[in-house]
């Protein structure tokens, strides 16, 4: 279906688009971000300039970008999907060649004053490409092996590049995000069963490879796995974060210790209290009420996204929405599961709450495209 097929005359134009935005979603995103500002203020010990203020500035900029993107017709994204994908792959190669090594991994690409993390951009671009692919592909061919192989390659190319950085977390996110789009597009369930079987096999192989010449992961990644399996084994080393996070989180109780009263995070037990472990501070200071509220807000955001996808008859827009919402879901569930000790610590931010410019910008860009899909849906 080309853009000529849309009932263009019935799609809102100009400033009237404002009326057709998914406003509940805008408010929910703002609400979650506000929780983020509050927590950043708290973990900085009341120093607003440390984290809260820069984050607010980026949020304002990100919201502007979101509204800007919402006004761009959705069919524009479909037409540039392939170009965006190619650029992202090139950027990932660029990181490999000349990237800045930070935190033991090459993730940043420095272009003059701008530092970009191409792996974050890729998350959006390749969802876009997959959605465009399935929009183009006749439905009856969706599950044919050859037509399944193409999206698999589309997913694995950037994944392989990200894995070389090495960034296991993002690689898994990319595979899972792509999987969600393929799943929504209607690829036969048998394929997914097969992939899960292969993954289980691979994990076994990786664990077996430890200590041999063909070791498949870095030692620090193995350590994280160990720690995950038994955090008590090394409470002062790698398991330290997880132990302290759980103690902080659990000690919050029903209503928490009160704003700015968190002891664990205040005493610097938590080294990454403003990024990956911010959820523990929220849970400690506002208890189950606070943590549960945040979880509910996330569920509501997810709900509005999926509802928007279900009511959109345009296949590209619908798949795009599902892909972005799916990535969002992966983000917050992986982060929460990590700090609660259900997954190995792997350094993933809590979406819209953790301190960090790139992650916030990319999320708001994603929501911008999602809004665009909502505004320009066929009527």
């Amino acid at each position: 279906m080309s853009y000529l097929d849309y009932s263009v005359e019935r799609v809102p134009t100009g400033w009237r688009k404002v009326l057709y935005l998914n406003w509940p979603l805008v408010f929910l995103v703002t609400a979650v971000s506000c929780i983020g500002f509050l927590m950043l203020y708290s973990v900085s010990g009341g120093d607003i300039d440390r984290w809260a203020m820069p984050q607010m500035e980026r949020f304002v900029a990100g919201m502007a970008i979101m509204f800007g993107l919402a006004f761009v017709p959705i069919w524009f994204w479909r037409s540039i999907a392939v170009v965006a994908y190619v650029i992202c792959v090139l950027l990932l190669v660029g990181v490999e060649v000349m990237g800045h090594v930070g935190m033991g991994a090459q993730r940043w690409l420095v272009l003059g004053p701008i530092r970009i993390q191409p792996s974050e951009l890729t998350k959006i671009a390749f969802v876009m490409t997959l959605a465009a692919y399935y929009d183009w592909l006749p439905i009856e061919k969706v599950s044919r092996p050859l037509w399944v192989l193409i999206p698999v390659l589309l997913i694995l190319t950037p994944t392989a590049l990200v894995l070389m950085q090495p960034d296991l977390g993002t690689s898994i996110m990319l595979i899972a995000g792509g999987g969600i789009v393929m799943f929504a597009a209607g690829v036969s369930l048998w394929y997914f069963g097969a992939v899960i079987a292969i993954v289980v096999g691979l994990i076994t192989a990786v664990m077996e490879s430890r200590g041999t010449d063909w070791q498949l992961l870095h030692e620090y990644q193995f350590k994280r796995i160990d720690t995950f399996l038994d955090p008590g084994s090394d409470p002062l080393g790698a398991g330290y974060n997880i132990m302290q996070a759980q103690i902080a989180l659990g000690s919050g109780g029903w209503s928490g210790r009160g704003f700015m009263q968190g002891t664990q995070s205040r005493l610097n037990f938590l080294p990454e209290k403003h990024t990956d472990f911010i959820f523990t501070s929220l849970a400690e200071e506002f208890g189950f009420v606070g943590a549960g509220t945040l979880l509910m807000l996330y569920v509501l955001i997810l709900g509005f996204c999926l509802h928007s996808a279900l009511t959109n008859r345009d296949r590209f827009a619908s798949l795009m929405t599902i892909g972005i919402a799916g990535t969002f879901f992966l983000y917050f569930s992986i982060n929460m599961a990590t700090v609660m000790g259900m997954l190995p610590a792997k350094g993933s931010p809590l979406p819209l709450v953790s301190y960090g410019g790139t992650s916030l910008m990319i999320l708001l860009m994603g929501f911008g495209i999602l809004q665009s899909a909502h505004v320009h849906r066929p009527r």
């Binding site: 929504a184 000690s251 943590a291 979880l295 279900l310 008859r313 929460m336 609660m340």
Partner: protein, 647 residues
């Protein structure tokens, strides 16, 4: 490529089904998260709360070493010394009285102290270490360490404590540090946690207080594993703190030492300023006190003695003391008159010994009068009537404005406590202060630095420096912080006619070197150090008509605290000024007899950078000076300088 309606419907149906399945999976994941949260925060909250409160890993702060304070040549004037102390933790001690009794066999402690200590230990939390004694000798310290098995809960520790190697020389300017009190904490918003350490010391007064921030440094931390009783088991990691910044002052320790000894037991103050850059090379208030006593916790008898001393050793007279400047103020009045154009350097007034104004008689200090007096002579002989006449012509507002230009009545910003602004009174000031009109008599009093005029010794030194240079010399005390030399500003020109300045300086020269100079006896005879100065004697009481009728009583016959203040300001060398000095001796008597010799001696020491050759003194003074030197216990010359001199 166009999609049919059928295809669109098919796509929507497929997506709906898959989204539903996705939704179910996501709902399952989120439910798991929610349940885990519920389990941790609601069902097991108590366990985690206990773990959190009794966390077996504690962060202990490492207090930073306080920054050193140096003199201009690098001599340490405030440093840190090793301090051995002993703490006791109730939890581990068991029977406290037994342990304390055993401790008393090693550390001398009277019954009252022991009782107080036991109360203090019982009052504090069982796991908090309480300081038992500090500043132990190495012998006491090691014998406690040796007897550790018999002294459960007792921990010998060593740390740093402030010390002032020059004792009383710098007591007022440096101030001192002391333990952090609750009152101190209440004044600080969001206090640094290191302030809560029991042994931590905070700048209380003087430079120690004013430069607290750079001097304090940054605390380090250690992560230690503690057992359930709170006792450290082992250190896990350590992050060293950062020592406070080293502050190099502009003061010269040897000159400061000389000045302190020269002032002796007088209640007095002396300030020496390098006029070329505003460096305060000495700033001494006498009598001093030993700041080390305050660091260690001064005993009540010592403190009472300091408080009751009638010479007020705790007051910093150099910047806190505001005195009527007396005749040292005459340069200000003279310059105000010359600049206003109401007189010129050659203008004369006739001094019959007094003038009659508004029905009141104002006396010159010389009963017989000075006859015809011009500007230079008015300073040389310190004729009062000249200034009475001048004040009526020029008016108080212009005198006050000139005083402020010269640094009197304005606050000089130095890192010292309670710096006074002094008073340069004018009409508006009197109206605001007393709701009264300014009277001619007020101007006449002010013209010779009496009445409402008040200046600190620092301000008088600044005035002398400004007269000497014609520039707006700004005093400073800090030369460098952490090796970063503070820039010396290019001083602005005061904008006073050079001829007028030369007249004032010529008058000051005549005071010392003129045949009738009031301070001729205190002159310097070495031509390369030729000195110019001005005496001042300021009354602290009104002479009643009855007293005057009986004849003015000489100072010696009065009780000490009713005698006149003796003041002196000076600079040298006359041709190319280097140092300006002010000296105020409270109730010292006459400026020329008491203050001028002190100022001269300090000035000579500064110029010679050590004891000057006797040949710089007038013949008649040499024997007296030599005797005075023999009684002094001066700081030795720095080794490097002796070596340089030999080479």
């Amino acid at each position: 490529m166009r999609k049919s309606q059928r295809e669109i419907a098919e796509s929507s149906r497929l997506i709906s089904r898959r989204v539903l399945m996705l939704g179910v999976i996501q709902a399952a994941v989120i439910s798991t998260l929610g349940l885990k949260l519920r389990s941790m925060q609601l069902e097991h909250a108590e366990e985690y709360r206990m773990l959190s409160d009794g966390n077996s890993i504690k962060i202990r702060l490492l207090p930073p070493a306080r920054g050193l304070i140096l003199d201009r040549n690098g001599t340490v004037i405030a440093g840190n010394e090793q301090n051995y102390r002993v703490t006791l933790t109730r939890e581990d001690a068991g029977d406290i009285s037994t342990v304390v009794a055993r401790l008393r066999r090693i550390i001398p402690m009277n019954d009252r102290q022991a009782a107080e200590l036991i109360t203090e230990i019982r009052r504090r939390s069982a796991v908090t270490p309480v300081m038992v004694a500090d500043r132990l000798t190495w012998q006491e310290f090691s014998s406690i360490a040796l007897n550790a098995p018999a002294l459960p809960g007792v921990t010998p520790e060593s740390g740093l404590s402030r010390s002032y190697p020059r004792a009383g020389d710098f007591s007022h300017v440096l101030g001192y540090v002391g333990p952090v009190s609750d009152f101190d904490l209440s004044k600080i918003e969001n206090p640094d946690p290191v302030l809560r350490l029991p042994e931590f010391q905070l700048g209380k007064i003087g430079m120690e207080a004013k430069l607290e921030e750079p001097l304090r440094g940054k605390a380090g931390s250690r992560r230690v594993e503690v057992n359930s009783a709170g006792r450290e088991m082992r250190e896990l990691s350590r992050q060293e703190g950062q020592q406070g910044a080293t502050v190099q002052t502009t003061m010269d320790a040897r000159l400061q030492n000389y000045a302190a000894q020269r002032l002796g037991n007088e209640s007095a103050a002396a300030v020496v300023i390098d006029v070329t850059n505003g460096d305060i090379v000495a700033i001494s208030s006498s009598p001093g006190f030993d700041p080390n006593k305050f660091v260690r916790g001064i005993s009540s008898t010592d403190y009472k003695e300091l408080m009751q001393h009638d010479h007020r050793p705790l007051a910093d007279k150099t910047v806190q003391g505001a005195y009527p400047p007396g005749s040292t103020f005459k340069m200000v009045t003279l310059l105000a008159g010359l600049e206003a154009g109401v007189i010129n350097p050659g203008s004369r007034f006739f001094c019959p010994g007094y003038i009659q104004v508004a029905g009141r008689r104002f006396h010159c200090w010389s009963k017989g009068g000075h006859g015809t007096v011009d500007a230079v002579r008015s300073l040389e002989q310190s004729c009062d009537v000249y200034y009475y006449e001048l004040a009526q012509k020029v008016g108080i507002d212009r005198i006050a404005a000139m005083a402020r230009r010269m640094g009197i009545g304005v606050r000089h910003d130095l890192p010292m406590s309670a710096i006074t602004e002094g008073i340069a009174p004018d009409r508006a000031w009197k109206m605001a202060r007393y709701k009264q009109e300014w009277q001619v008599g007020d101007s006449i009093n002010a013209s010779i630095g009496q009445g409402y005029v008040l200046a600190s010794p620092l301000q008088l030194a600044v005035m002398a420096a400004r007269v000497a240079t014609g520039k707006e010399v700004i005093p400073r005390l800090v030369r460098a912080i952490d090796g970063v030399v503070q820039p010396v500003p290019e001083f602005a020109d005061l904008g006073i006619n050079p001829l007028h300045l030369r007249t004032a300086r010529g008058g000051m020269d005549a005071v010392m070197n003129g045949s009738h100079g009031t301070a001729r006896r205190a002159r310097i005879v070495a031509p390369e150090w030729q000195m110019a100065g001005k005496t001042g004697t300021s009354q602290v009481r009104n002479i009643t008509a009855a007293e005057r009728a009986r004849g003015v009583i000489s100072n010696d016959q009065l009780p000490w605290n009713r005698r006149d203040h003796a003041l002196f300001v000076c600079f040298a060398p006359y041709e190319m000024p280097r140092y300006a000095v002010s000296v105020v001796v409270e109730h010292g008597g006459g400026g020329s007899a008491v203050a001028a010799p002190i100022a001269r001696d300090i000035l000579l020491f500064a110029l010679a950078d050590g004891l000057p050759p006797l040949s710089a003194y007038p013949d008649g003074e040499r024997a007296k000076v030599e005797e005075m030197w023999s009684k002094m216990n001066l700081m030795p010359e720095p080794a490097s300088k002796t070596a340089r001199a030999k080479a």
